[in-house]
Subunit: 417 residues, 4 copies
């Protein structure tokens, strides 16, 4: 099943790049969470192609339309203040308002985002047995896996467009986490191709924590970090690196080539004690959800790969009565949260779609010199992925919170009459 | 999670009675199945309020709009022949075609059905701490379970309207089953209140099988049965009973009261050998899916409750080289299909919503004499439930087919280069 | 997967009738529940063949051995007071104590029960392509489903012996439910073949509730009911019926034939508000778990099939400020518990194994007159099934309790430092 | 739930380090696979402490005892040739043979491994509110997560001992994969602390493939690689590195300190086309299963983190009619297998348990200078982890194979009469 997270908080997604819409169903949001469509839209806007200068020029508007799971008995007007939706069929037109602002009812929350900027271009290059295989893409395996029934338009379901569901589901999870724990989830690009930032977000957070006396950071400070991330040319905390990387991306785009990237994602003010211990631990889940995202080839938690070269006496984080004194462990011990920031770093391969000629085949295995006819693409897919990583982290963290909650008996939850 | 079936073929549903839409995501349909929107619409039309003379007068059009998971590289026009969908938001209007006819790609199939005939009536009677509790309904438990955030409009998610997802998911499953096995799934009402039909569908099927020499029935004969079911005043094979029951329903409606009903569902030309053996057997799944439907209080497989009074020597079905000679077992032995018709009977309680006064309370436990202010309702919820039962059976049977398929190794499925 | 319940509280079972052991793994028991091996053994003793006069004469001892998930830092002696387990292999012998009394740690609880009374008899009658098919059994379908690899000894995995896992998992669930809510789960046989009891357990419970002023019954009264159930010749509340039924069973056994039965299961002092609303509602789950048990052909909740003939004005249970005034609904509305007793009735077919000759085939479809050579069997499988039904109800109810708990936020559950 | 893999092939594990036994239940092995207890034992022997010179000196024998799911109608003697199991309880002794060699029946396979070398040592240092917290361990979070009911003996369930279940489940998966596809799964240590091997296994495999003309390697060549891996002082393909690393481990052990390590795991002769596309893709699953193992902090697929610095024109693997010409992609495109070797690299932190003094606290937050009293431990946990990684990869790959199989309709699988 195409489901993120779960079994308690989960996000089902459907929809291919050039299909009519991306559909999302969220299960497991407890009742009573205030949901405002515009907040979710803000996160979607960060994900959107065209949402920054260095992504693909394709300009989807990606407006989210909420269809279920939200209510407000006291304010039907705010509740129904979402976009108007209409369907024309067999000569009739049906229409309805959709949800704007309300409270979760505990029942499934559904949303759609229409795909409207797709060009009805010619896919002959990629279609059928004679269709050409784009190196680095799933074209060949999906063609044969699906017994030739794959949708080739714009990458089909394997397009980054499907991460719209991740972001919608993540947006609601982060509202829940923020409301109950003050949790804030941020990301920062650390590398673009061979260029590396000189400051990591996790290091910056460590410094702030070291200056305080707890594992928490106040909302105001976090808001400032968020603004500085968004103010730079690409989504990174290091301004100089942002400019340099932006130039490199432009140069590479004009070369018809592409670049890899590394992104760090950090959650602050994390609820401690959540995560199952072994086979479904939060570490298993985060490694899978973050490391398994399209185009990702590496995933690290905490100090990550650097721990290989260390001795235990360097790597073990000391503990004092106020908390952990360092965060090599990246907020997880035994797959359970310690309350320290959750830290992960993810390495993206360079975008597979390039304009340089490459050795390839047709789907019937005939050899060709592949040259892409046209198409709009990110030269560096990693730089737009931050909000998706944040969202996936939020989904898994929220599920872990609910799992832990389920184990704490509270007699008040079972009262009637 | 709000999911029917699974883990291989599953249907996720979302949406409350008076919300903007019912949303459905189907996972696990193998690639290459031809899907025609109009066939699915036909099943939805059977489910629809107003779809027969004796259901609720509410007249939803319930037009299905397919949003993903379907493709046809060779005929984009047919593919995009579905309803036109549009969204108006922030002064812009976005629009797109939706899918009409194509082939499943193996990826999630999403669909929405707008809710447009809902009246913006006054729900004050049911809302908040002073809200009145309708006897036989979930009003009280859902109010307290949700910590007061439940959507009370039209029964919210607990409305029969949510079975739109069952029917959409079931329609696709039955296409698959029909195409590969010639499976046809029918239902017939056997009781309405104290009146019982004199002919059961399963008995009729038994007679046809006894006259032949296999456990299969030809498509033509099945089509005739289907037509006779649909031609009667209510969906039953017994015409005299249909007329009598229809009169009883009208009389009961004018009394402001309601009636129970029993419905039999039968699948013919069932693939044998499918079903896991114990804890997730097809019997477990069908008892749950059929017996767990809203308003159902009993579920029987095969000869059902009648077997209690029998001896083994009467009840065991004899076997000859051509197959089972009788079907007390209702098509399942040890939870595995035998190829004989799957037979289940389900008892529905009388619709809880009645116009007669009843003893009840407010949600704050204050006693009242409850009298429904207004609302449109089926006097006999069972008579419209047949297509939902057929759909749920199809979903579980299809999942069992795929589970069995997964255990048969076929080297051809793993070829590339 | 061979799993009962879940996703939060679940019971995985493994093991065939004449294999070395039945193995059980329980996931999701919260930490801190006191578990005493002897209490679980008491429930297993009720399930055991030979545990009553009218079951099969096979006399397994069925001693449970706990292998994980239990601890008591303060009393290692009690903790390790379970059976001693040893393994002889390659000339070495390894041995260990097992758990006796301790507290759940929240991690998986495993247990095994050895199968030691199996007779190494000759299975030639049932084995291979020439093997004979026992009417009413899974012999034929499992042979072909498994591509001839099925274990035919004693019914293999389809034997009632596999319900050992149900009972172990249920025993721990009922401890949890009793400790937190005082929940007690009982069962009573209501029919044996054509004979019916004149008093139902649910009716008896209704009378006790009607005499009090709440939906609860005190522990002392429940203990008395339990004792009277166990004191009778078969497990039923109606003493006269018990004697009569026992005689009928003996007569039928000597005829070489078998009998159906109906069993009612009732849970008292049920936590209200638990159960998901639709597709995985507690009604779906109970219908599946109870109605899907081996040999069951019907399942009813509350007033069950009788509701079909009723009008809504009779069937809706009135509500006063102290609670529901009747229990037609059997403790569930919309699949959510109301706090009234959970009531289900289950109909078992007559045991398929009989000694009378029957028409059958070999597994290669050759016709035979089937005559069982030998074997030990219950003439009435239903009469020993009560404890299994109680256990399955406990497992599903416990899972629903944890699901509901997961939705209620409690800041205290997330504290460290 | 404590389950690896699934939903089709899954492994449930239970058991804590110093409990009576580790219990394993495997679901989803298709019928007809030959299972030989001694082959599984061989893999367990590789995992076993004491199984190599540089692991912990604790010497468990770890003999696997199969309890269900295996049968051989033709050879009961071979079937029952496993260890003899006995239980002493209440003055009685029960005993049974267990399974030696037979065929899977398609039903759950259960196994136990007794824990018999555990020393009944004193755990006062770690027990209760005064218990000391070992830096780098889960002591503190599990104590508070479990509300003080955690089993502290030998790390409890968080011990590496729980990976016995991974290895048993993996052993059966790799038999299946080898029988149907010739798949062989190997691992090689690439780093121990700051020392790196000069030859990677994946590079060695690449060279062999480059010399041939397909993506397959013959069994003989693979057997030779396996032998050279096992012949070296630690499990690596680079003999010089093995000796050097072994010396470093010994030195570090005598310093009372520990070392990190990196391990590469490679599957050869991989069935192509398997893996779901997005949210449950094989990449998601492998990143989770491998990257989520105890003590792991990083996980890479294919070229891994190195791709960040590359351009697309370097990183895309060229394709010719015979197959992919390079394997930057590590055998997965879009989370689907290409038939090229599956390659992953995993970074382990240095063992948390060291003998050097460290800053820590008691579970009640009182500060201490922590000094471990005693205990037996691996100075480099990574070097024994290879077989566990291979096993987890096998489990996920097998599940993906069955998932793909379920999508390919084969009419022959549904025949009876």
């Amino acid at each position: 099943m195409e489901i993120l997270g779960g079994p308690l908080y989960s996000v089902a997604g459907a929809g291919e790049s050039h299909g009519p819409a991306i559909t999302t169903i969220i299960n497991g949001c407890p009742p009573g969470l205030k949901i405002d469509r515009r907040q979710v839209q803000d996160y979607l806007d960060r994900r959107r192609p065209g949402g920054n200068k260095h992504g693909t020029p394709r300009n989807e508007k990606d407006k989210v339309v909420f269809l279920s799971g939200i209510y407000d008995a006291g304010d039907h007007e705010a509740l129904l203040s979402g976009p108007e939706l209409s369907v024309a069929v067999d000569g009739d037109r049906f229409q309805t308002e959709s949800y704007g602002v309300g409270y979760s009812t505990g029942e499934p929350i559904a949303a759609i985002v229409l795909s409207t900027s797709k060009k009805s271009r010619d896919y002959t290059q990629l279609t059928g047995e004679q269709g050409e295989v784009r190196p680095g893409h799933t074209d060949l395996v999906k063609f044969h896996q699906s017994q030739e029934f794959v949708d080739v338009r714009g990458g089909g379901r394997s397009s980054y467009r499907s991460t719209i569901s991740d972001v919608i589901g993540g947006s609601i999870a982060r509202r829940f986490l923020y409301e109950h724990f003050g949790t804030v989830i941020l990301s920062s690009i650390t590398s673009v191709g061979p260029r590396n930032s000189s400051l990591k977000l996790s290091t910056h957070i460590d410094h702030i924590l070291a200056a305080g006396d707890s594992s928490r950071i106040d909302a105001e400070t976090l808001k400032q970090i968020e603004q500085s991330l968004q103010g730079n040319e690409i989504h990174t905390i290091d301004q100089a690196f942002a400019s340099e990387a932006a130039k490199l991306i432009m140069r590479t785009r004009s070369d018809g080539d592409s670049l890899g990237a590394e992104v760090e994602v950090v959650a602050v003010n994390v609820p401690p004690l959540v995560g199952e211990p072994l086979y479904q631990s939060l570490k298993v889940r985060l490694m899978g959800a973050l490391g398994g995202l399209n185009a990702v080839q590496s995933c690290e938690i905490g100090a990550g790969k650097a721990v290989v070269a260390r001795r235990g006496s360097e790597n073990n984080d000391p503990i004092r009565h106020g908390g952990y004194q360092a965060n090599s462990h990246g907020g997880l011990l035994g797959g359970i949260t310690t309350g320290m920031p959750l830290v992960a770093r993810v390495g993206f391969k360079p975008t597979s779609t390039i304009h340089k000629p490459q050795q390839s085949i047709r789907k019937n295995y005939e050899e060709i010199d592949f040259q892409l006819e046209k198409g709009r693409h990110d030269p560096c897919v990693g730089i737009r992925a931050g909000v998706t990583l944040e969202s996936r982290l939020a989904i898994e963290l929220m599920n872990a919170v609910l799992m832990h909650q389920s184990q704490r008996f509270d007699a008040d939850a079972f009262k009637l009459f």
